[in-house]
């Protein structure tokens, strides 16, 4: 378990949310990206070795969209970076933990990720990340 990779916060609109995080709190905005597979726009704000991600759902029919509709926005999930996601998922299964993704999914950039069901974590949606190996 290497670090908290990110904390995801669902927002109605990134442009409305940013002034608090950027101007008032003083975080830097690294970039805003359209993440097609999530049906969301995401703003990345690094803090130490972690980052805060402001996630704006672009489709009300996704889990993110329904979360926004139900709550008005707020803390959505936390993501921990691991070295070996397969080993972690096997260990979690061995302890009877319910996984949302039984096998890792893979992003375009090669990052492997999987979500753990809040039922097994005490109500916290938890994501695991394994970043692609740097060559060289």
């Amino acid at each position: 378990m290497k670090r908290v990779h990110h904390i995801a916060i669902v927002v109605e609109e990134i442009e409305t949310a940013l002034p608090f995080w950027q101007q008032a709190l003083g975080l830097e905005l690294a970039e805003v990206e359209e993440v097609e597979v999530m049906k969301a726009r995401v703003a990345f704000l690094p803090v130490g070795e972690s980052r805060i991600e402001l996630v704006q759902p672009t489709d009300p029919e996704t889990g993110l969209g329904r979360y926004l509709d139900k709550t008005g926005g707020g803390l959505h999930h936390i993501c921990l970076e691991v070295d070996d996601i397969l080993a972690h998922l096997a260990q979690l299964r061995g302890h009877g933990v319910e996984l949302i993704d039984e096998t890792p999914r893979v992003r375009e950039n090669g990052t492997k990720y999987a979500f753990i069901h809040p039922k097994s974590t005490g109500g916290v949606l938890l994501e695991l990340y394994q970043l692609p190996q740097q060559s060289g």
Copy 2:
């Protein structure tokens, strides 16, 4: 803004919650502490430069106790460490941000802390920490 200091998760009972975080997920348990001022017991689990705090309310009449009663437990707040909490609170006020603590409160160990109202953050309860200066 130095780092994510901790992520606080409210749990009904630390002993019931720990097996997931410790055995299944593989985090280390640094200690469990009775934090009288919070009316809670807290388990500290370091992850990189941050830590996960499992917070078990010991009094149902506190904000933490009511949160547990209402939600059954889950992500409660995130805490960011800053160098100069007074400067940060002044800057937040200057941007019209609503603070729960207008001036920092101080823990026994000298840590200064203040909470920002979720109204101003888009639904996220946010805490700022300034750790006591190391002498020498």
